[in-house]
């Protein structure tokens, strides 16, 4: 009789715990799932020109990029041939801008730089690298 009671209590405890873990996982997913961008969202993108630039070319690139819909800040480094800009994802798309950049400005070797997952892992710790962050990230991966 006593054994049955203990077994029943254990089963109930396990069931409640499992339910709580599931609830926590759903809560984490709902709280941390990427939301839709709003008017203030800015995304940074980078185009590598892959050729040396003069100061005049750099100024021309900057002017052209500022004319693109959604772009609000541009920096072109002629020394490195790297162009960095931020844009509103509601108004523009970095892939389209990079494609137009290549065609309209005649920089055939230019390409949008997108870091690999490995490069991102070694990047600046913008997001927390704590155990909780890893836990949340793994929960998000499940969904």
């Amino acid at each position: 009789m006593k054994r049955r009671t203990i077994s029943k209590a254990l089963r109930w405890t396990f069931a409640v715990l499992a339910g709580l873990i599931l609830l926590l996982a759903i809560h984490i997913y709902i709280v941390t799932r990427p939301g839709t961008p709003d008017a203030s969202t800015r995304v940074m993108a980078r185009i590598d020109v892959h050729q040396p630039l003069t100061a005049a070319e750099s100024a021309g690139i900057t002017t052209w990029l500022y004319r693109q819909h959604g772009v609000d800040h541009v920096l072109c480094n002629p020394k490195t041939g790297i162009v960095v800009f931020t844009y509103s994802p509601l108004k523009g798309n970095a892939n389209d801008i990079a494609a137009s950049f290549k065609d309209q400005l005649h920089y055939p070797n230019s390409s949008r730089y997108i870091p690999t997952d490995k490069e991102l892992e070694g990047g600046c710790p913008v997001a927390s690298s704590s155990g909780m962050y890893k836990f949340i990230a793994s929960i998000k991966k499940l969904f």
């Binding site: 961008p37 800015r42 072109c76 490195t80 790297i82 870091p115 991102l120 070694g122 600046c124 997001a127």
Partner: protein, 187 residues
């Protein structure tokens, strides 16, 4: 019952004593010394050009402008941009991009470091953030060259934000940044 009454009386007397002490202290104390944050604009509220209809402290706005410009300079600088690939990605929850997350983190850090009272920095310590053993996202230890490049980019970024390098407040910020060299450079 008598014990409860006695205890209540005791608490009341203690409360009166503490409040009168704190009042007398505030009356006699001298005004607080202005912080570096005050010299950067302080807590005066101004409209935020990046978020129409919202207000922001003037000091924070200036710091954020310098940080944002510096982030652009860093992102286009091959000397150190390998450490900042997260800028080009989406991170965290909500709609925060890597650029916005880093901007907020660094702005909080500098604001708190210069004496801002209304913000908190919740990131890692400088030593922990730059130690690959404590922070797996740090791909190797930073050297003096990396730190020098960061300082050059900071001054360039400030210039692009309209703050000349000889501005006294910026020079004070630069001194604070330089004081962190021993915590960031770990080889």
């Amino acid at each position: 019952m008598r014990k409860v009454k006695f205890l209540s009386l005791l608490i009341f007397i203690a409360a009166v004593f503490v409040s009168s002490y704190s009042c007398s202290k505030s009356k006699s104390s001298t005004p607080p010394k202005p912080t570096l944050y005050d010299s950067l604009g302080g807590t005066t509220m101004v409209s935020d050009p990046a978020h129409s209809g919202t207000m922001i402290e003037k000091g924070r706005l200036l710091i954020r402008s310098i940080i944002d410009s510096t982030i652009f300079v860093i992102a286009a600088d091959t000397a150190i941009n390998g450490h900042f690939t997260t800028l080009l990605s989406e991170v965290g929850s909500g709609n925060l991009s890597g650029f916005q997350a880093l901007s907020k983190n660094l702005t909080d850090f500098v604001a708190v470091g210069t004496g801002a009272k209304n913000y908190t920095y919740t990131g890692k310590s400088m030593t922990a953030a730059h130690d690959p053993a404590q922070n797996p996202r740090m791909n190797g230890k930073a050297d003096n060259g990396d730190f020098d490049a960061f300082e050059v980019d900071l001054v360039t970024g400030a210039g692009k934000a309209g703050v000349p390098s000889n501005t006294p407040a910026l020079m004070s910020v630069a001194k604070i940044v330089e004081s962190l060299r021993s915590q960031v450079v770990q080889q």
